[in-house]
Symmetry: C2
Subunit: 396 residues, 2 copies
């Protein structure tokens, strides 16, 4: 691809651009641009949803620009100052730096290490005093902050908003001022904050960043945005078999956008796959993401394991756990804990009640069930949790 | 008055108390209390309106408590961070300290110097960093700040409110935390801010201050609160004659509250005066405030001057201005400027057009009018501006 083709691809991938003319001009010039991307320090495990912008960032990087990740460690270290929210755990300095390193390690699976920079916004926000804060907050009106959808909804529905919360978009926007961003990228859910950065730069006498808003990848349940906390994600660090298995669960109507947003496969090809055979199209998608994040070599094994389980069979090469013969008197629940298949007896009992545990392919129905004499004599016991977790138990 | 009588008097003077039981308990105990009173650093000239709370503070001081004036120099030094308001001029450190000294000088006309402390809120607010600010703002919700009448009105009427403005009541409230106030006093227009202080102390783990809300003295036009900027005030530093003259202008229906709020005269006495002869009641009020702020000795002269002018006569002992004989060709307008009666020719012309200038008791009707030969020969010219500004011109 030449420069112009890359520019067209970037523009095509965006949902909205503020403003397109200016962005095109910047990208056409020979200036090395500072591309800002904000990162949440508390959830460093990247999933396919994150790869949507990362793949655009990679294009920008290939064009010679500098990618600057801004880790929002400042607020992460403060936690929730009102002390009311439990969803925002307070992180230590070390934890945020460790998250930053993990983040760097993960994004450089897609991006070039040498052209990727990680910064922490505490570097500049920690230095601000009350006067600086008043100057910053003096740039924005209450009404404009309340335009942000989530604030607006909470305000209308009388759900309390802490005064400090009004400062978060301003802080995020100020990050653009601090790093002199030329371009910022973010998901559609970040549009408001991205534009705050653009406006604050003007107020601080800087050229305004252009803003690329990219689409959000929908999660595996087909409704919400893909996120770790909703457990509807495919992590880019997950093992090939899990990736493949999750790929098969993508709702049919979402598969096209998965291809479009997360792979390089050409539109005419994936559209034909989807038209011809939707199940096979899922398999192709699964193969592609294993190829991208683990390499070609890992594809066959993952598929074989998936197919074996799908047939209800027990796969080869499953993990083995050796336990003492005296433990053969144990109940199935105790055995589940001993082998590490469950974390606690209560979890084991719950899974049995939910019909989630099998022994040698047969459902365990009684929470007090023990191994049969036959089991022990044969010394061939395979415990199964859910559809795809197996463990072989051997007595010695 | 004994302690209990003083407590009753304080309670009676208040419009509202939060909370009365707790305040009574504090005042009855032997603990030396910290009494907070907020002061605006940009307008140090005290007027009768200010004396309403000052006289209550004096009572508290006489009971052994410490009066702490908090000068809001922090925001005064910042000015308007949004750069939009011209009504909030930015003051230098020196200016705020000078205001503080003037303030101290003026309040100690009523209060005891040795039991009065002036503090500046920059002392603690300057030390706060962004984290501290978030902690402070995390204690309050947007909805609660928007309950403040003026914010509420502006919000409803879509008049912009800067985000930084939400922090002012919190800063003012934090002052109570910083000085560990036991009691705060303020006018009815400050009720919201006074209660913020009370609530923030709780959030910061301190005993809560009690709040005494006192009535606002209405200005000389009988509508708005007395204030310098509305020019409807009687300054406690104004000369006796001006005090007396302004006292005579108090609207009849407001005189009772002036007596009640600003003097020690007993209710039965001033009520009788008002019933018997309202003009004389005004004179008694004028005499009383001269007595309070200048002493008995100044009363007679002020009244005589007032009565002379009221009769349309020219008072004795007026200022004299000597000018060069060659200037006798000047127009009246030039002469007004030369003698300093007006600041500019245009003001002089305007006053003549408004029939506000007399020469030797006769109205000047023509803006181009010059001195007559008779005037110059007699060498006895008295220029009069309005009702009570006179100057004698002598040629040499």
């Amino acid at each position: 691809m030449d420069k112009n083709e890359k520019i067209e691809l970037i523009v095509r991938k965006a949902v909205q651009i503020f403003n397109e003319d200016s962005l095109r001009e910047k990208l056409k010039s020979d200036k090395k641009l500072v591309i800002k991307f904000g990162a949440d320090p508390s959830r460093p495990d990247l999933h396919l949803g994150h790869t949507v912008p990362l793949r655009v960032l990679k294009l920008l990087q290939d064009m010679g620009h500098e990618i600057v990740f801004v880790i929002g460690d400042f607020t992460a270290m403060i936690g929730d100052p009102s002390g009311k929210s439990k969803t925002r755990p307070q992180l230590t300095f070390e934890e945020t730096r460790k998250s930053g390193e993990t983040y760097f390690k993960q994004v450089t699976k897609i991006l070039d290490k040498d052209k990727t920079k990680i910064t922490y916004n505490s570097e500049w926000l920690n230095k601000m005093n009350f006067k600086d804060v008043l100057e910053l907050t003096g740039k924005y009106t209450v009404a404009r902050i309340l335009e942000r959808d989530d604030f607006n909804n909470r305000f209308i529905n009388k759900i309390p908003i802490g005064v400090h919360e009004f400062m978060y978009p301003l802080m995020q926007g100020y990050d653009s001022v601090a790093i002199h961003a030329d371009v910022e990228m973010g998901g559609t859910d970040q549009t408001f904050n991205l534009l705050v950065g653009r406006e604050l730069q003007k107020d601080y006498g800087q050229p305004q960043q252009d803003v690329i808003v990219f689409p959000l990848l929908v999660g595996l349940e087909g409704k919400e945005k893909m996120s770790k906390s909703l457990d509807n994600y495919i992590g880019i660090d997950e093992e090939p078999f899990v990736m493949f298995e999750k790929a098969m669960k993508i709702p049919d109507e979402c598969l096209e956008s998965y291809f479009q947003l997360t792979t390089d496969i050409k539109k005419e090809i994936y559209q034909k796959w989807i038209e011809d055979d939707i199940v096979n199209a899922h398999r192709e998608f699964g193969k592609e993401i294993i190829r991208m994040y683990h390499g070609d070599d890992c594809i066959t094994e993952a598929i074989e394991k998936y197919d074996t389980i799908a047939k209800g069979s027990i796969p080869n090469n499953i993990e083995q756990c050796v336990i003492d013969k005296s433990d053969s008197e144990l109940s199935i629940v105790d055995l589940l804990v001993k082998t590490g298949l469950v974390a606690s007896k209560s979890e084991g009992r719950r899974l049995i009640e939910q019909k989630g545990i099998k022994i040698n392919g047969e459902l365990v129905n009684d929470v007090n069930q023990k191994l049969t004499e036959k089991n022990i004599l044969e010394n061939k016991i395979i415990l199964q949790k859910g559809k795809n977790k197996f463990i072989k138990v051997c007595f010695k």
